[in-house]
């Protein structure tokens, strides 16, 4: 295709706008420009406490990127008439890339709005917001990466600002310590990941995903060991980014130590970024390996990881006393659910698109409900109420709307009907069953049932238990945090009626990869 055609897919183009091809990565460019603009503003007016300005600019930037993304998504860019590739195929824009970019930018916008209160009076606001924008940029690049080189670079691009953001509270020991751990584990994982890439390159002679697939098409006879180790090491790199077992160790510490809005950002957007790139690499390049001889059954490896991750994440979450840490483990558990999207793939399977699409839709809903939950934690931290379940007792008497929103997040995360999380989990498990992986769905359902236990503990503390006298500290209403939490709750609820559309979009985008 010579130009980006923004065409109404159904009708014969009543409104046709033709843009240059490079505009397909406009969301990425907008995020980059926003980050740079923040640095410029800080350079021109240094020392001025521009928290509000920076927040405003970042919010505008992420919302602009979101708007363009959704516009492209609706108009069919990269979907009608095939995907758009740029820079010698190193970059690809298609339905899946846009779908995930929409998740990243929405989460970023929520986090930016919420951070405004959290950072009030803080120095270096500019660095915070620009790091946030650059991290989002890295994720958006991950979504469009079409070569193992860009995959690696963009993954690091998303990771490095994240390390800095986790350690942003420089005077807080927990924040600094968790940042260092995050960095060390990240470095180790990156090494594993890079090694895996080099092994795959050794077998196929290319880094472009399509050429890697072509290289594997002829089978891997004689190189099975090299290829297999390479593929599993790449899987390990993604497991790190998605906080899946056994690469999850950084997550509880980083989520707990980081400023709560950053925890929200990492556990929702960063995790989704890990998944988009994993989905793309494995579905584009490594599908031939599933039925090669000897087979490199990475899907089974993901199945093992999914089961272990679901079980471990949910079990560990059940024993926590600290709400933020509980959420950290629950987010690990949710990585296990999304891994089903890779684990239930089969060579030439008719349900591949459904399974992966359902996982994508789950990540979308998860983006809102999990971000909202962490932002609620941010609000509680802002009030200085405390971190454990007991400290949360009776919060609904002081903050009924926020507590209601939190109840929505918790029940939705648990997958109770009448909330968005129910449908996404249902679609995920149902597609896994129809793909023949009923045992994955069973483990998912059982661990979901368990998760209800610890999620409802939060709701019980908020709504049923009596306040124990520590709530007097609540004297202000952080507007931005409130707005973000309520918006996330509304989105979680609205994604109930809107879920069929989201699922349809996701399945169409995923099916395009298997076409």
């Amino acid at each position: 295709m010579s130009a980006v055609s923004i065409v109404n897919a159904a009708a014969a183009a009543p409104l046709q706008v033709v843009l240059p091809e490079w505009t397909a990565i406009a969301p990425v460019l907008i995020l980059a420009l926003t980050g740079l603009l923040l640095l410029t503003i800080d350079a021109i007016w240094p020392g001025r406490n521009g928290n509000t300005t920076f927040a405003f600019v970042s919010a505008l930037g992420s919302l602009a990127a979101l708007t363009v993304t959704v516009w492209y998504l609706v108009a069919g860019t990269g979907q009608v008439g095939g995907s758009i590739t740029l820079f010698s195929e190193a970059i690809v824009v298609d339905g899946m890339a846009l779908f995930f970019t929409a998740i990243f930018t929405s989460v970023a916008a929520l986090v930016v709005v919420a951070s405004h209160d959290y950072l009030a009076g803080h120095e270096n606001a500019a660095s915070y917001y620009s790091l946030l924008m650059f991290a989002t940029l890295g994720m958006a690049l991950m979504a469009v990466s079409n070569s193992l080189a860009t995959v690696f670079v963009s993954l690091e691009m998303a990771s490095l600002p994240s390390y800095a953001l986790v350690g942003f509270l420089k005077k807080n020991r927990g924040s600094v310590e968790s940042s260092l751990k995050y960095f060390l584990i990240g470095a180790l994982s990156s090494a594993v990941f890079a090694f895996g890439i080099s092994l795959v390159y050794a077998v196929t002679g290319s880094l472009l995903l399509s050429e890697v697939a072509a290289g594997f098409d002829d089978g891997v006879a004689g190189f099975a060991g090299v290829a297999g180790i390479g593929v599993l090491m790449i899987a390990g790199g993604f497991a790190y980014k998605t906080a899946s077992v056994p690469f999850h160790f950084w997550a509880p510490e980083a989520y707990e130590g980081a400023p709560a809005p950053i925890s929200a950002f990492l556990s929702s957007a960063s995790k989704a970024a890990g998944f988009v790139v994993a989905f793309r690499v494995f579905s584009t390049s490594f599908m031939p390996l599933l039925d090669a001889t000897p087979a490199i059954d990475w899907a089974l490896a993901f199945a093992v990881l999914a089961v272990v991750t679901m079980v471990l994440g949910n079990f560990a979450a059940a024993t926590q006393e600290n709400v933020k840490r509980m959420l950290a483990y629950s987010s690990i558990g949710h990585a296990g659910y999304a891994l089903i999207g890779l684990a239930a793939l089969t060579a030439g399977g008719p349900h591949n698109g459904d399974v992966m699409g359902a996982a994508m839709a789950h990540l979308l809903i998860y983006g809102f409900m999990n971000t909202g939950a962490f932002l609620f934690i941010a609000m509680v931290e802002y009030w200085g109420v405390g971190r454990t379940f007991e400290d949360y007792a009776g919060l609904s008497t002081k903050a009924p709307f926020a507590s209601l929103a939190m109840a929505v997040f918790m029940f939705s995360l648990a997958g109770l009907p009448v909330f968005g999380g129910f449908f996404s989990k249902y679609a995920l498990f149902a597609s896994a069953v129809s793909a023949g992986f009923w045992w994955l769905a069973a483990v998912g359902a059982i661990t979901s049932a368990l998760s209800l236990y610890y999620y409802s503990r939060v709701v019980k503390a908020l709504w049923i238990e009596q306040p124990n006298g520590n709530l007097d500290a609540i004297d202000s209403k952080p507007t931005g945090l409130y707005a973000a939490v309520i918006f996330a709750a509304v989105a979680t609820v609205l994604l109930l009626p809107g879920f069929p559309i989201a699922l349809e979009t996701a399945e169409a985008a995923a099916s395009a990869l298997f076409a």
Binding site: L180, K181, L184, I185, L188, S189, V192, A224, G225, A227, G228, I229, L232, M233, G236, V245, P246, F247, F249, W250, P252, E253, P294, A295, I296, D297, L300, A301, V304, L305, L312, N314, F315, A316, A317, A318, T319, Q320, I446, A449, L450, L452, Y453
Partner: protein, 671 residues
């Protein structure tokens, strides 16, 4: 035309629920006026729909498909309305009684200065709306959903005075016991879906029609390896579980007497038109399905007959006026079940209608007495109220005569037809039905006895307390509903004078029979008669049988009445229950039903503990049990999370290595 407004019949009371809930405290009378307006509006629309059915025939429309399947089983879950003679008649009954109950509540709740009125009227509105939604439902799943809503509302209303001890416990009991039955109902709904792929009540592809054709061998449905008739019996009995719970039939009747803890107008609504009626109405609604299964019908008839007699005997010794009425309700619904089981579809519907009027009347009358007695319900503290409250007395008397089945009050006609259907079908080669008939017949004198014992103790004789000497007067808002229902209790029987027709040979005065024949083809009364497995037998001729049956039941009713008159219609009645000896205690304690259930609960501990272990170990073991395991293993996980980053790096590397080795060796990569 009128049918387009049918959803409004359901939505109007729902609107009043919303108004009362959110704006009730700002409105005068706590939302009562909105409720009266809404239910009166529904009543008018129902009458319009009724008249339209009369002129244009029945009507069915699917309003909303809220889920549709794909692939091999294109199931559709829908909301729709089915307005046929049966539902149109029920709509009028429910809306009429709901309106009157709302008006009565002005006197019973507002004038008595109750608090929490918005909650009360919100509950009434939702209750009415749920029942109306249930009545118009055109498929079993929708019916189930509204059935559950009805149960929920009854819970809310029975427990209205939740600060006292009794009501919350009674509400819980009502909820749990009916829920027990509803479990079976739910399984039944799923079974109907998996058998027929549809739960529609009407149409060529509806499940009663498919069942009939499957029994005839014209179509095959998935009967899970059973013979079709056997399987339909099983499914029918599963659904019947919900009916037995809601309609308070033996052995799930124990919630109903306790439900008297609720406000009296609510009792009237529950007993006459809504919750309890829902069960019987459901059987009538899907009667075509039951008609293909002789076993299910026989079981229904037996449960009904037994409950009729059993509950009536317990009503004999009660001291509280509402308790007597509670047992009479159970007993009367037993008659309806008997009629349904005996192939008397019209008779059951007929009794449902007349009972709705006279039982609502009796409850509201009892409410009036309770107002007068300053909420003392013990009949032994009353007496002599006849002269102080004439409107209540005369209407209550009309209701009592109807309940006792005395000619020519409405209850006589309907009860007589119930017993007549059981008799002729029993004589026609179904001796089992004769047993059910005998129990129903034996219940007649008992009913008359406890009814008039209640009347005499309450209204006749000398006042036995100061309150009874100076009762509190009641206002128009109590007397008006009583008068309307009083008239209906007297004349409602005239819509179906089958005995007169049979004896005198007057054609065309069985209006209800003709009316219920106007429905869609497979939902008509004569179609049910064709499908049902019974044939008729007579003593002598048909007219003779009618006369004999009527004479026997009327004679027994009069005998019961006279005995009550002899014992209690005296200036200073005394308790005669001591003469019953040991039986008295048995009756007074309801045959130790509650104790029995507790005893079962305790005695079956070994079974229960197995079930409990199963529940804890397997079901909850997957939920709670996993969590207790997980608390342990979770703490292990916590231990893995040491906080030392070198440990993490080591574990990470080990994990990856294990994964690589396992897959490499099993996958044969290194060969």
């Amino acid at each position: 035309m009128a049918f387009e407004y049918v959803p409004a019949i359901v939505l109007l009371p729902f609107l009043s629920f919303v108004i009362a809930l959110f704006a009730g405290k700002y409105l005068p009378k706590g939302g009562a006026l909105a409720g009266i307006a809404a239910t009166a509006g529904s009543l008018l629309l129902s009458i319009w729909a009724f008249l339209t059915v009369r002129s244009q025939g029945a009507y069915q429309e699917t309003i909303y498909t809220w889920a549709s399947g794909f692939g091999e089983q294109p199931w559709e879950l829908t909301f729709g309305v089915l307005i046929d003679p049966l539902s149109a008649m029920m709509l009028v009954i429910v809306t009429l009684i709901a309106t009157l109950v709302h008006v009565f509540s002005l006197g019973y709740m507002n004038d008595e200065g109750e608090t929490g009125l918005p909650r009360y009227y919100a509950g009434l509105g939702l209750f009415t709306a749920s029942m109306l939604g249930f009545v118009v439902a055109d498929n079993l799943l929708m019916a189930f959903m509204f059935f559950e809503l009805v149960g929920l509302c009854s819970y809310l209303l029975i427990g209205f005075w939740f600060r006292e001890d009794g009501p919350p416990s009674a509400a819980k009991k009502a909820f749990l016991v009916t829920r027990f039955g509803d479990y079976f109902f739910l399984i039944g709904v799923v079974a109907v879906f998996s058998t027929f792929g549809t739960a529609a009540f009407v149409g060529a592809e509806s499940f009663p029609v498919l069942a009939e054709e499957a029994v005839a061998g014209d179509v095959t449905v998935n009967t899970f390896g059973f013979d079709p008739t056997t399987w339909f019996t099983i499914v029918g009995l599963l659904v019947l579980g919900g009916v037995v719970g809601k309609s308070a039939q033996f052995p799930l009747h124990t919630w109903l007497p306790d439900a008297m803890e609720g406000p009296t107008p609510v009792s009237a609504l529950i007993h006459a038109a809504t919750m309890v009626a829902a069960g019987v109405y459901l059987v009538a609604r899907m009667y075509g399905f039951y008609a293909v299964s002789p076993t299910a019908l026989a079981i229904i008839a037996f449960i009904g007959g037994f409950t009729a007699l059993f509950a009536a005997t317990m009503g004999v010794v009660k001291r509280e006026i509402k308790q007597v009425l509670a047992y009479s309700t159970i007993s009367q619904y037993g008659y309806m079940m008997l009629a349904l089981g005996a192939g008397g579809y019209v008779a059951a519907t007929f009794h449902l209608m007349t009972h709705a009027f006279f039982k609502a009347l009796l409850f509201l009358g009892a409410g009036s007495v309770i107002i007068a007695m300053h909420h003392n319900e013990n009949m032994w503290d009353m007496g002599g109220l006849k002269d102080k409250m004439p409107v209540t007395y005369w209407t209550f008397l009309a209701g009592s005569l109807a309940l006792a089945g005395i000619f020519p009050f409405s209850g006589f006609w309907s009860k007589d037809e119930v017993l007549y259907e059981a008799l002729i079908h029993g004589l026609g080669g179904s001796p089992l039905l004769l047993g059910a008939y005998a129990m129903g017949l034996l219940a007649v004198p008992v009913t008359a006895f406890y009814t008039f014992r209640m009347v005499y103790l309450t209204f006749h004789g000398e006042p036995r307390t100061d309150t009874a000497r100076n009762p509190e007067p009641v206002r128009w808002n109590v007397k008006f509903p009583l008068s309307v229902l009083g008239v209906l209790a007297v004349v409602a029987g005239l819509v179906n004078m089958v005995p007169v027709q049979k004896v005198l040979g007057l054609e065309g005065i069985d209006y209800l029979h003709q009316w219920l024949d106007q429905s869609f083809d497979p939902l008509t009364a004569h179609h049910y008669a064709e499908v049902s497995p019974y044939s008729s037998g007579y003593i002598g001729g048909e007219a003779t049988t009618v006369l004999v049956g009527a004479a026997v039941s009327l004679g027994l009713a009069l005998a019961g009445l006279l005995l009550a008159t002899y014992l209690y219609n005296v200036a200073e009645p005394t308790e005669h229950t001591a003469k019953l000896g040991a039986i008295k205690d048995v009756l007074y304690n309801n045959y130790y039903q509650d104790e029995f259930q507790v005893w079962i609960a305790n005695r079956t501990q070994s079974v229960a503990s197995v079930a409990d272990t199963f529940d804890q170990g397997v079901i909850d073991g997957v939920v709670n049990g996993v969590s207790s395991v997980s608390l342990f293993s979770g703490s292990r996980v916590r231990r893995i999370q040491t906080g030392v980053v070198t440990n993490y790096a080591a574990l990470l590397t080990l994990g990856l290595t294990a994964l690589l080795l396992a897959f490499g060796l099993l996958g044969g990569w290194f060969l």
